[in-house]
Each structure stands twice: as structure tokens, then as C-alpha cells.
């Protein structure tokens, strides 16, 4: 992967891998409260000597085989020099940070790099204090503590979570960006393995009354964020998730428990979930009326547009990478759909004139991301590369012109149109959709 460390700027100079840096991350035996053995002492001596030894290195790269390595540790850390970061653009209570999708491999997002979108900051909640109230049109209103929720039968599934505002930076005809990273444009997408209790299990426990058709999900943050969800989804595949990639869900993702609605827009998947009210109609909260609705060209506004339609994003090559030479390069990216499985991803390397099926790496999970790859022999000439995803309903990721025609140009959400990257003759990569509109 060394050929992917070819950024024009922004971290192109990777920190050198040094003994000293490695040592700095290694907790000593004394810290762990373990007895020092003679071999430990020898190890310490060797470590003390190693920076000098490294400095006096002979020909070839630094040689890690001449000094014993560090001990085991209770919590791991990234290698020195590997510093993927969420992108934080403003420190405001209602804000977001974005996943560095252009720096990640495969499909699973490390939990500490999962994108954030909060409406009044991240609340501090102790799991032992947290309660979930379920009431409304139910036979038995109940309060569940975390220990109660965790005693119910568990379920795990891998699925994507995307803010419906993701990609909004590339929808305005007159303001198409060029110097924008995949993270800046589309970093409000992450994929995790989520673990929790199916919401249907809890709804069966409280006994939903006849006539109920919706519920209100409400968070324990300072915005008391609330969204209405149709009961049909709640009893289908909705989950009360308390696990994320094998550990407790992170505070930024809703600790200690959040609503998970696979395939639906992130905003409806209420974090820090503390109340569910079963109802016979939507509550019409602020975030399902004045926000997360889509004003259309015909004068109406589309409401409860929950499902995330099929989308794909090329993450390599993308701005600010530079292709240093012509030849074989592997185009790679992510594709997903909220309507089930991705069935096809195609790549164009000639500005959309011709398309070739990309390789999709399995397993292809419903409502999760897939990694696609396409080996491309770049001839050194300027061109535009694009991708488009097709899902199991036959929906094909549209062009931006198709979205403009269907919706107009004033919508702020669900902008899942095809993206393009422009490869210049000198190998620089910029966002290229502006060339096609």
C-alpha cells in the first residue's frame, strides 16, 4: 500500500517509525503492577540502548530484529505515524465530524473514527443510571435499565449508518467544489457491527395496543432529540443497540443505547435513547418537519424520507492523492443501499461514456457497505473516473442531472448522485463533477 501514501499535502510526510516512538506507547511492567524478572531487566537495558543503535544503523531500512520488542499491553494503540482523524470543521453544539473514508480499508469503521452528528453535544451518561421508558399505546408501560435490556436475547448485525445530509456539498450547480476530499464530501458514512436487543422483542414485552402505527423515539441529550418512526419498521429490523464493533457503543454514537434503523437516515436513529412512546400518528417534531424534509420542484416537501438510496463513492484515487506515474492503479471505494443488497457497481474511467463492472468484495450484506475494486491502467492522459451502484430493487445510482430533474436544486438531503474525480495529466486528483454539469 506504499503507493497510496502519495498525498500532495495533508500528512504526506509520515512520521518515521522509531524505537523511541514505539517505546512511548508501551506501558512498563511496573505500571502493570507485575514483578520484574531478569529478562525484563535485560529488555529494559536493550530498550535504553536501542535509539543509539537505530541511529547507527547500517545500509538498508531500520532493522527491528536486533532488539527485543515491547511487552504486551492492556489496551492497544495505533502504530506511530498512523494517525487517521475525523474531520472537525466547527466546534459548535450542533455539529458533525466526518470519517476519513479515504484513509480506511475494507468496510468496517473503527469505532473511534465513526462519524458524529449531534444537535446539542455529547451527553455524559453513566450506564448504571440510564433508563429507557416505553409507554403510550401499550398494555404495560415499563422502565428498562441497561441490565434489563442486556438480559433480553441479543442480536448482532453489520450495517451502514449515514447522515442524510452526506454529500450535500456537491449538489449546487454553481458551487461545485474541486479541492475537496472524500472525507469532507462524504465522510458522514460509517459501518459497524451493532449488537443489542431487537426492538420487536421489547415491543412484545410491553404489548402494543391495536390501532398503534408509529412510535416516538427520544434521546437523553440536551436537544432531547426526537423522531417519529413507523411501527412497521420498528417491528421489522429495528434494534436497541448497546454494542459497537464488539465493545460498548461509544458516547458519540449514543452510549449506553441507541435506536438502530438499518438502511435509514442517521437522524432517525436516535442516540442516548431514553424514551419510546407508541402512538397512532407521527409527533411532527422539529427534526421531521423543519429539517430532514425535502422541498421539491413542484412546491411540495417530501416528508419521512427515511431510506438511504443506493450510492457509491470512489475513495482511491481521490483528492488530495497524486498518481506519480502512469500504469496500473486499483480504483477502490464503498457502495451501499438502504433497500437491501448492492448487486452491481460499475466504474467509468472515461467521464461516464463507458462503464465496466467492478469487483465487489463479499460478503454482500443487506444494508451494509461493500468494498469495490477495479484495476485500471492509466495512460497518463487527463480523464474523469466515476462509479455507480445498482441495488437489488433495480435502482441505479443516478446522475446529478437526474436528481435535479426529479427534485429540483433546493433539496438538502439524500444527494446520492454519482461522484467524479478528475485525474490531471500530472497525476493530481481533484473532485471533478463540475466538469460534467
Amino acid at each position: 500500500m506504499a503507493n497510496r501514501d502519495t498525498k500532495a499535502n495533508g500528512g504526506g510526510e509520515r512520521a518515521r517509525f522509531t524505537r523511541r516512538g514505539w517505546l512511548a506507547t508501551a506501558p512498563g511492567a511496573a505500571v502493570a503492577g507485575l514483578a520484574m524478572t531478569r529478562s525484563d531487566a535485560l529488555w529494559n537495558q536493550a530498550q535504553e540502548a536501542s535509539p543509539a543503535a537505530a541511529a547507527a544503523a547500517g545500509p538498508g531500512p531500520p532493522d527491528p530484529t536486533k532488539v527485543p520488542g515491547r511487552f504486551v499491553s492492556e489496551v492497544g494503540s495505533r502504530a506511530p505515524g498512523e494517525e487517521p482523524r475525523r474531520l472537525v470543521r466547527s466546534l459548535a453544539l450542533s455539529s458533525s465530524s466526518r470519517t476519513p473514508i479515504h484513509e480506511l480499508q475494507g468496510t468496517i469503521t473503527p469505532a473511534d473514527l465513526h462519524f458524529e452528528r449531534h444537535h446539542a453535544g455529547v451527553p455524559e451518561i453513566a450506564a448504571e443510571d440510564h433508563e429507557l421508558l416505553v409507554h403510550g399505546m401499550v398494555e404495560r408501560p415499563m422502565v428498562f435499565r441497561m441490565a434489563d435490556l442486556k438480559r433480553y436475547p441479543q442480536a448482532s448485525r453489520i450495517c451502514f449508518l449515514e447522515c442524510s445530509g452526506n454529500g450535500g456539498g456537491a449538489y449546487s450547480r454553481n458551487r461545485m467544489p474541486t479541492e475537496i476530499t472524500a472525507q469532507q464530501l462524504d465522510g458522514l458514512i460509517s459501518t459497524s457491527e451493532w449488537t443489542g436487543v431487537m426492538l420487536s422483542t421489547i415491543l412484545r414485552e410491553v404489548g402494543v395496543r391495536p390501532g398503534a402505527s408509529w412510535l416516538l423515539a427520544e434521546g437523553g441529550d440536551a436537544a432531547v432529540m426526537a423522531r417519529s418512526v413507523p411501527l412497521e419498521k420498528a417491528t421489522d429490523d429495528a434494534m436497541l443497540a448497546y454494542g459497537q464493533n464488539g465493545e460498548a457503543i461509544r458516547p458519540e454514537q449514543g452510549y449506553p443505547v441507541r435506536l438502530l434503523l438499518p438502511g435509514w437516515e442517521g437522524n432517525a436513529q436516535v442516540k442516548w435513547l431514553r424514551r419510546i412512546e407508541v402512538t397512532d400518528r407521527p409527533t411532527m417534531t422539529r427534526d421531521e418537519t423543519s429539517r430532514y424534509t425535502d422541498p421539491l420542484i413542484d412546491g411540495t416537501a417530501r416528508q419521512f424520507s427515511f431510506v438511504m438510496d443506493a450510492k457509491s463513492v470512489i475513495t482511491f484515487p481521490s483528492y488530495p492523492y497524486v498518481l506519480p506515474e502512469r500504469g496500473w492503479w486499483e480504483i477502490s471505494g464503498l457502495a451501499w443501499t438502504g433497500r437491501g443488497r448492492v448487486t452491481r457497481v460499475e466504474v467509468s474511467t472515461d467521464g461516464g461514456r463507458s462503464w465496466t463492472p467492478a469487483q465487489i468484495e463479499g460478503p454482500v450484506l443487506s444494508k451494509s457497505t461493500v468494498r469495490f475494486r477495479h484495476l485500471w491502467r492509466w495512460d497518463g492522459r487527463e480523464t474523469l473516473i466515476l462509479s455507480r451502484a445498482t441495488d437489488e430493487t433495480g435502482y441505479v445510482q443516478p446522475t446529478v442531472q437526474q436528481l435535479w430533474e426529479a427534485r429540483g436544486e433546493r433539496t438538502s438531503y439524500h444527494q446520492n448522485h454519482q461522484r467524479a474525480w478528475k485525474i490531471a495529466a500530472d497525476g493530481t486528483v481533484t473532485f471533478g463533477l463540475g466538469e460534467l454539469v
Binding site: 450542533s94 440536551a222 436537544a223 409527533t283 417534531t285 423543519s290 441495488d391 433546493r410
Partner: protein, 192 residues
């Protein structure tokens, strides 16, 4: 073949009804509390416990508390609690615009309370749960009525001498009320 299928179904039913079989997802939704078909983890929620958190307001006004507030009281509160984020006339920002200064669909100057919000009840609900941003939940119900009345007045939807309560707030007709339509995207080849 049919007989075999029936036999399998009979076995499945028998297993689900066995005294030591765990509750199943397809057990009746409204099952009796004493039924063995429930796990029963968790505690009953009392009326007081529900009332403590049950703060939402429905579009027909259900959930609005007793009390009232005047446009004039709302003006005084607004100038202390709201003006820094929303501007003197509700159009200046820096945070969300409250009064339209552009077409209804334009972000951010059109999608305002008067231009875009379909229900006045949502204004009360949102102010009570989330405003003021730095001190959420600090206004009394009467103060929330008053601020809501003033914002509606700024939008030309209430006269300067208006006083609102649960009935009159729910009766305010918002200009964008009939614009909203359900999602018609269904997958398949059509782009919507």
C-alpha cells in the same frame, strides 16, 4: 409432501407451547402480563414516572400543558434569551432563521417557522425541549407559550396583543401546512 409439511408445522407449534420454551418473537403482541410468553425483565412505569419525561406535543395540541403567554411577554424574553442566536427580527442569525427572507424552500433564509414549519405545536415542543441552547429546559411553560407567541408574531401569524394557550396555539394555521407529502420513493428503476 403436503402431509410432511403439516407434520413439521405441528411439531413447531408443539415446541412453541412447551412450558419451558422461551418466549418467541411471534407471540401475541398484546399478551397478558401474567402470560408465560413474556420475559418480564424491567419494571412497571408509574403514571408519575411517565409524566416526568412525557414532554412531546402532538400536532393537534395533545401534550400541551396548562398555561398561557402573551406576545408582549415573549418579546421581553426573546430580547434576553433568543436574540444573540436568532437576531433582532429573527432573520439575522447567526443560528437558525425564524422569519422568512427568501422563498419557502430556500436554505437557510426560507426554511423558517413562518416559511416552512407545518405546525405551530412543533415550535412549542422544540423550544421546551431544546431551547435556549445553552440552558435547555430552563423556561417555564408560560414562558415557552410567550416565546412561541412572539416568534409567531414576528412571522405575521399573531397580532401584537395576542395571548396564546393550548387551544389557540394548536389552532394557528401555518402557511406551509399543506406542502408536506409522504415519501414516494420506492426503489426500482425510477429516480425520484
Amino acid at each position: 409432501m403436503r402431509r410432511l409439511a403439516l407434520g413439521v408445522a405441528a411439531v413447531a407449534v408443539a415446541a412453541a407451547c412447551a412450558p419451558d420454551a422461551p418466549p418467541a418473537r411471534d407471540d401475541a403482541a398484546g399478551a397478558d402480563a401474567s402470560s408465560s410468553r413474556l420475559f418480564g425483565f424491567g419494571s412497571p412505569a408509574s403514571e408519575d414516572r411517565i409524566a416526568l419525561w412525557n414532554i412531546d406535543v402532538k400536532p393537534d395540541g395533545e401534550g400541551l400543558p396548562p398555561g398561557s403567554g402573551s406576545v408582549e411577554d415573549g418579546r421581553r424574553l426573546y430580547e434576553v434569551q433568543c436574540v444573540a442566536c436568532h437576531g433582532a427580527t429573527g432573520t439575522e442569525g447567526p443560528n437558525d432563521r425564524l422569519v422568512p427572507a427568501a422563498n419557502w424552500e430556500q436554505w437557510p433564509s426560507g426554511r423558517t417557522v413562518g416559511g416552512y414549519w407545518p405546525y405551530a405545536t412543533t415550535l412549542f415542543d422544540y423550544v421546551r425541549r431544546a431551547m435556549p441552547q445553552a440552558t435547555p429546559g430552563s423556561l417555564s411553560d408560560d414562558e415557552v407559550y410567550a416565546v412561541s407567541a412572539y416568534v409567531l408574531h414576528l412571522n405575521g401569524l399573531l397580532p401584537a396583543d395576542a395571548v396564546i394557550d393550548s387551544a389557540s396555539l394548536a389552532a394557528v394555521e401555518m402557511p406551509a401546512r399543506d406542502r408536506f407529502v409522504p415519501d414516494d420513493r420506492r426503489g426500482g428503476p425510477e429516480v425520484r
